[in-house]
Amino acid sequence: MRVNPSLTARLRIGFLVLFALLLIVSLLGVGRLFQIRVNYEDDITRYFQLELQSERLRSGFILEQAAARPATAHQKPSQGELDAAAASFTNAAGEARKLTENDTELTQKLNRLVISQTAWRKAVAQPLIHEEVPPARVESKLTSAVTNSGQALASGTSAARAAAREDARTETRNTTILVAAGLGGALLAALILFSGLINSMRAPLGRLVEGARRLAGGDLRTRVEVGGPVEIASLGRAFNEMANSLERDARERDRVEQMKDDFVLTVSHELRTPVTVVKGFAEMLTAQRKGLNSRQYEAAEVIAESAGQLQKMINDLLDLARSDAGKLRIEPEITAVRPLAQRIGRQMRPHFEGKEQQFTVSVEKDLPDIEADAGRIGQVLANLLTNANKYSPEGSQVRLAATQVGDEVEFAVSDNGPGLDEEQLEHVFDRFWRADSSESQSVGGTGLGLAIAKSLVELHGGAISANSSPGEGATFRFVLPIAKDGRPKRKEPSSRTKAGAAS
């Protein structure tokens, strides 16, 4: 199993490692510097003592010379003084030997001094004690040998001391550099450690941010790759659980929505047949009015009318359910505008006459054909005209106009009724919405007409809009594309180009 320490553990480990590294480097560095200092002091002390012994050796030689050849004539050379001076020399040499134990060069120099001194004592001092004068050449040679080797030892000692100082300085400098490098290295290691920690969080956090953004954008299948420190990983898992639950909810919602669509579709479809039958028979009764008395006829008329309304509502509901389910289909054909407008005008005229409204249909001359499902566009026009008829008071004017605008045909249904305010205009195409004013209290209908009109126009690739201000009537406009290979409008006899107006 892969080890995946938590964020806090990582931080703790990081700090511990850093602390340990710094401590080790500091202790080693300080210890080393201390050691260098101690060694240096030892060296200096030793060389100082060695210099002291060199002085004693020199003075021993001088004493021996004085014993062998007294400065004044009344003094005689003395064997005893010579021995004492020689003993002092030997003692100093012994002390010096201890001090030069570790230094072969100085030891050699010391040995040379001792040898040359011994040779001098034997060949110069002893004969002098015995009143024999050694040859001047031998004496001067052996004396200068002693003097030279004494000087060599002294200068060697001071050179060694200088070298020790130089060594101590170099070592101190090197150690300081090493400690600085160690500290720098430890800090660098810490930097790498922490940036690694940040990097280990950055990638999974980045994925989380990206995932959250995609989820918010509506892609409910979004899941993130779980990773990084324990805390981030559990955040990732929580995110995925949340996405799962969101997706589950959305799927459930879609399912319920689908069930609702299916339900409305099925119910309205099943309702249609009996309603058609009721309407059909009621219409048959009203058509055969001779067999009925006036009350029976009235009842048959009411049944036929109510069945008609019911049929209309069911059809509206079915259309909307189909539209929601994406099953509302149109069959666009090359359609002449004038006969369509006139057919709807004829169909609607009785309603306007019933309310004594002035209804005019005007179609621009030479209007080209449109690409449309004539039945559906007729339905749109009928819905718009029904609205105008219902919401305008008696005696008002309603106009249906078709004109060419660019490469489109614009249909406009306008009235001079009470109009709509801005808030109403915003909702006018919402389903089941109805203008809520005292005048419309008596207005029937399902509030689906405009919603269906909008769906149908949009299905044709057109657009519908409403314009109004309170008290100034309302105008509903929609545009449809002109048929690409439609006939130029010249077929209608000119006598029929003017649509009739009814009072």
Binding site: H269, T273, T276, G280, M284, R329
Partner: protein, 124 residues
């Protein structure tokens, strides 16, 4: 007199169509399903109908199957399909099979009668 063959599996719809079309002055022969519709056609023989109205969805044999069979025999009698077409591809399929016209269900009487009149006259 113009003779019509009308087939619909709903008895009330069939009765309504029969009465209403009779009122308009047509002679109406009815059938409750596709098999019965083909039987009636055979019975009528050379006295065949001027226009046939078929409900697309019927038990035993659907209107679409009846349409296919009639056209298969080489008859070019006008056939009007009455279809609820919940399936958007249905009208096109029926037209390919030789349907003269398709009336969506539910229909407006004016449309239905207008269409029958048109076809009866064309056929005459």
């Amino acid at each position: 007199m113009t003779r019509l063959l009308v087939a619909d599996d709903s008895e009330t719809v069939l009765l309504m169509l029969e009465r209403r079309l009779e009122m308009e002055g047509y002679e109406v022969v009815t059938a409750r399903d596709g098999v019965e519709a083909l039987d009636r056609l055979q019975e009528l023989g050379s006295q065949g109908p001027d226009v046939i109205l078929l409900d697309a969805m019927m038990p035993n044999k659907s209107g679409t199957e009846v349409l296919e069979e009639i056209r298969g025999k080489g008859s070019d009698v006008p056939i009007v399909m009455i279809s609820a077409h919940l399936d958007a591809q249905e009208p096109e399929r029926m037209r390919k099979l030789g349907a003269t016209d398709i009336i969506p269900k539910p229909f407006e009487w004016e449309d239905l009668i207008g269409k029958i009149e048109e076809l009866a006259h064309d056929g005459a």
